[in-house]
Symmetry: C2
Amino acid sequence: MSRKPRIRSGSGVTMHDVARAAGVSAITVSRVLNQPQQVSPQLREKVMQAVDALAYVPSRSARTLASARSRTVLVLIPSLDNTVFLDTLAGIESVLDAAGYQMLIGNSHYDSEQELQLLRAYLQHQPDGVLLTGLTHAAPFEDILRRRALPAVYMMDLADDGRCCVGFSQENAGAAITRHLLESGKRRIGFLGAQLDERVLKRLDGYRAALEEAGCRDAGLEWLDPSPSSMRMGAAMLEAALAARPDCDALFCCNDDLAIGALARCQQLGIAVPERLAIAGFNDLQPAAWCTPSLTTVATPRRAIGSHAARQLLRLIAGEAPEAAQTDLGFQLMLRRSS
Amino acid sequence: MSRKPRIRSGSGVTMHDVARAAGVSAITVSRVLNQPQQVSPQLREKVMQAVDALAYVPSRSARTLASARSRTVLVLIPSLDNTVFLDTLAGIESVLDAAGYQMLIGNSHYDSEQELQLLRAYLQHQPDGVLLTGLTHAAPFEDILRRRALPAVYMMDLADDGRCCVGFSQENAGAAITRHLLESGKRRIGFLGAQLDERVLKRLDGYRAALEEAGCRDAGLEWLDPSPSSMRMGAAMLEAALAARPDCDALFCCNDDLAIGALARCQQLGIAVPERLAIAGFNDLQPAAWCTPSLTTVATPRRAIGSHAARQLLRLIAGEAPEAAQTDLGFQLMLRRSS
DNA sequence: GTATTTCATGTTAGCGCTAACATTGCGGGT
DNA sequence: ACCCGCAATGTTAGCGCTAACATGAAATAC
């Protein structure tokens, strides 16, 4: 009694089929595809012809299973609704793609518990490394990384605790834009914050430090809301802020979405920007340069963070040391009409 | 002579370890994880305890290899720089995630040749299905899908050739917004187009049809540029258009980026919008409602397209018929101040 | 001229999981 | 008492690939 044959996966052409067609053994085909320099040119040629003729596609799962290397990297980001992370992904993709690595994208929705679930789920793919957004993660998270000796690179911020970080100082950036507002003569500078993820809170810290330094700190000028940021929310927060504190003469918004919404509402209400109220945003998204008046903001090297982090991770995966534990890619003030 | 042991992948805990710890056979563990109703509650309980105790994570590659099902879906999009596709991805993710499927994202950079390469590369993962953007793809592309009997759903547009499509009529949408401009009294309506992917060209067809219908078609009012669209480009195209045809009294921009750039430049040049020149965009991105003046545009159901397409694909993968060959999710004119 | 190294290729034995079939035990019909 | 059917669990044999070792031939050394 012969059993039912199993369903063949994929196109059904296996490495052995190619080997037979080329008159060699399977391992030779494997080597032609993975370490071509180990195979003589003639055989290499013959094998490649067979590969093309049969339209052979190697099976990634078989390879992962046999070699214990998946050539896959897990990327965990907090949101898919934010251009910031898109740009970062684009940078990551460009590097991984070129290295033959694939990326698995997990969206944690700004929730560290969900992030932990994602890590657990994606571990099934045996990723060779992980790219993370931000420095703070659920407690078991780092445990898992350690226990599995999974290389990880942290993006967007800096830390000097030995973890490999690629980003810039959120705190310094927040302080720098606040100082710019101070220098332009404003004294009652408010802060609009939404989402309140760790990066926003660090920008807030920077804002506070700069005001402290200038003796202008006023806790009544901070408006914080944990719900997701949007232009609509920026408009609403602006109204609430001015209603509560009509003396406020400048606003640092924790990101451009809020700032653009606030700016638009000022236009509608006839509030002169920047004379009566200066406004600054964060990230330098595309509309910042094109709204009316154009928005002063902080340009962040998102794409570079992604590509650099990916390169560092590939080094770690290969067992090399990273170029540096932390890489500070800086930020740039974009001074425009709104301040 | 005993060989060197192989490097264990992942944490090294396998299904057999769990089976031993629970005092059952490996297949029982497999069933507890995949078809729990086939296992008695007591055993199920015992196995789950062992799974937790050992922090067992099943190997996706082993499962894929043994079962010839990867529970992975390939998503091919033309760009990672465009919010439109992000929103679509978010919709897809929500459905696939809930169904235990993982998505692989390929970015074709608006290039059908590169799209074909991506398909070839990602076939190594033996995806169970493919989600595609648009209807036109490189010739060998559809061949590969057919030869492998890979279920596919086409997003963003409609076709009545039997392919499973989820989207809306780009052409009708282009015609509808053009008719709105006609109804508001404009007669020399221009078209600004960038990127010139198939969707832009269909919107252009709709625009032409509507003008033809009204007897207002004027080929000298079309400005097309194949480079990627951006606000900067919208501003530049606006200037070029008005220089060439100062009599132009309305502009339909193929997307909101162009429109917002054009709008901003009008503000700078003191051109009255909509009196002297009406402007309409496409997609209803967030800034459209918040720029000055607010932008008339076409709202597109991007997230719904993603989630609906993912649901259809899951049906196809399960061997069921799709609810309908095409699903028209429509569009909505957002009439605002710029027209 | 033999010992030693190198290089190119092959053989074998899994990687961790699940499909297919096999076995066991139990309740119910007659 | 017997047989049947069904439910719960087990055994076996791969899925397609590559690590490790083996082999044989050519190149090099002394």
